[in-house]
Symmetry: C2
Subunit: 401 residues, 2 copies
């Protein structure tokens, strides 16, 4: 067996240069250099997850330290098991940073503090600042290469959703249907990994909600709840048998490429309450309206106001984004993680920019019937309207037909 | 629909009192109070994951603040969306803590710093200390109730593994076999969630390694590597077809109860190299020896030395715990998370205590054949030997027989 080395940077030279430049532009007003250690951030920067550190100066080439995987190579790459050793090389090769940006929201207190001390040992006057704002801004706007990865996830995601009716068998419970969708997704290439920034939200592969379980409160900040199968993971399917006259809302993992799409579709068993049918169409109308009007410069909070006004106008506000417990948003940015910028919420200060990817999920919970509505992932284009990249049929599909 | 409240503490009164007492004993030498916010730690303390905070004073009752899920109730429970509000109530009801333990390894820098400031606003002289040591120590030793949850995971885990040969079809790739095992696991009740402390390690449901992919280095600190299906998740199965003369090592998720077991078994296709057969038996011998001698007071590092000495004596040291890249441990504690204390490694200072749960995984990678060996989860008992709670057959099973 030959053990050849591999290039650490998996992106093309042009793509890598573009991402580095965008990050440097975003950080420069507040920092002279940034330490990157989080898996999602390293993947964004290099095209691969590896165990180590990147130092990105406000100008010039980045340096990389490897804690493991010493077969990776490239300019500025060296093996350094300890952050202290990496900091020493950074200090030897880069000008001292007065303000050093650290991943204060993505890394643990202990890890940030250790990194801060490692750099302070080299640069006594260094001030630690947060890298969160710059990383959040730069990751929200996808490059053309990243958009193609999002679109590819959307194509595969759609292929799975189109086959969901064939997976249903009479008498199935929500979790049984979910397991069959999981299997199909995995065979279609879904990586399964569901990355969430912040460490508070947990979900395995996605959520299937049928009947009144859609109204069960969950501790996680997802749009919909569900009691879940166990108090260690109280979200989503709870083992309810899918019953006539109720809906089944399917919101399953779209990570087929490292960049994930988010898509929800609603199914039913036999006829459902007319109000539920109507609410579903209102959800589709809200998505259409927001997609038509979404373009660079639009305020995220205005999109939220439009959505809730449409729900109110339809007389459905009490069911909008939940009934017993309401979610405080109708959409969110996504890509490597499910909760990127922008947030489509009442007090959001985010503004749409070309290349952003946004999942819109104006959903309703109708007591006695279940959850209805759709979710699509959209790309913000220069002139609008937004491009939908999750194309499965939007109608409520009867699983028994 | 009636919306009744639910008790926040899901444990029996006796079990809750036992856990609280153990935590208070563990923290008291270093802290006067502890703030708990991490999902895994909250689950350990209360028996459920919820969105909020717990304050555990060194003596007396704990207080709970709910960020969501305000239907939960109990003594000391109130709705407080902000940590600042929770800190104010804690200060009003508890004596001032001179040393406040915060989750410096489990929570982000920003979250810890915000909590620190919230409490400093109430208690100007408060010193923040790390909660990591006390939580790590107390979570390592399972209560009888927790041991029963571990055993139940083991029983279900074993039921899945016994049926693996029936899932194999000629021509299958590693990932295709993995998907069928995932489906079976989920139908058997596996929750899927794979909790890892520290945020650096990622894995979806588990790992299947066949042939030389077992020797592909991975950035994650698992015992075995594997190239994975995508550079965003470079670990485990890489899509290799399972070929005659090679092994298939199965190390799949055992989280059936919120407390997970870890178990590895080796399968093969037709005859494999005698050296691989021999290494597999050495792995079983190492597990037997360590299980026989493992009891309270034994040093973790001595267990590691025993294991590596046995591998050396068999002339297999170069293949032990990997070949191209070696893992630096042969076992680890586990429970709610896969990487709890103790660590069975050369420089570990951990000492075995009654009630600890330990996964032992002395594995070998034989070039040209693949990975061999087993992994079992054991409970440390007062008089020894350790109790094995993952009982699937340990022999290498030929998938074609």
């Amino acid at each position: 067996m030959t053990h050849t080395s591999e290039r650490l940077i998996l992106l093309s030279d042009a793509e890598y240069a573009l991402r580095l430049e965008r990050l440097q532009q975003a950080m420069a007003p507040g920092a002279d250099g940034m330490l990157v250690t989080d898996n999602a951030n390293l993947y964004w920067l290099t095209g691969r997850v590896f165990a180590g550190y990147a130092y990105v100066p406000a100008q010039g080439a980045a340096l990389y330290g490897l804690r493991r995987c010493v077969h990776l190579e490239g300019p500025g790459v060296a093996a350094e098991r300890k952050i202290e050793d990496f900091a020493a090389r950074v200090a030897a090769e880069c000008p001292a940073a007065g303000r050093l940006a650290l991943e204060m929201d993505a890394a643990s207190y202990a890890a940030v503090e250790r990194a801060r001390l490692a750099f302070a040992a080299q640069w006594p006057d260094v001030q630690a600042v947060s890298a969160t704002g710059a990383l959040r801004a730069v990751r929200a706007v996808k490059t053309p290469v990243q958009l193609d990865m999002m679109r590819l996830s959307g194509v595969r995601h759609e292929a799975v959703y189109r086959r969901i009716p064939r997976l249903y068998r009479p008498g199935m419970s929500d979790i049984e249907l979910q397991v069959e969708i999981e299997r199909l997704s995995r065979l279609e290439g879904c990586l399964g990994q569901f990355r969430v920034a912040g460490g508070e939200m947990e979900l395995f592969m996605g959520s299937i909600l049928t009947g009144d379980n859609a109204d069960a409160p969950s501790p996680y900040d997802f749009a919909m709840g569900g009691a879940g199968m166990d108090p260690s993971l109280p979200v989503g399917a709870d083992g309810s048998v899918i019953r006539p006259g109720t809906t089944v809302m399917v919101d399953m993992n779209g990570d087929f490429t490292g960049y994930m799409t988010d898509m929800t579709r609603t199914f039913c068993l036999g006829a459902i309450a007319p109000e539920a049918e109507r609410a579903h169409e209102v959800s589709r109308d809200i998505c259409r309206r927001l997609a038509e009007t979404g373009r660079p410069g639009v305020q995220a909070r205005d999109m939220y106001e439009t959505a809730i006004a449409m729900a109110r106008e339809a007389g459905l506000e009490q069911y909008f984004m939940g009934h017993r417990q309401h979610a405080g948003f109708v959409g969110h940015g996504l890509g490597i993680e499910i909760n990127e910028a922008p947030v489509i919420a009442p007090r959001s200060r985010d503004v749409l920019r070309e290349g952003m990817c946004i999942a819109l999920e104006p959903k309703f919970v109708i007591p006695g019937t279940g959850a209805v509505g759709i979710e699509n992932t959209y790309v913000v284009r220069s002139e609008g309207p937004m491009e939908c990249i999750t194309g499965a049929p939007e109608e409520i599909i009867d699983l028994e037909k």
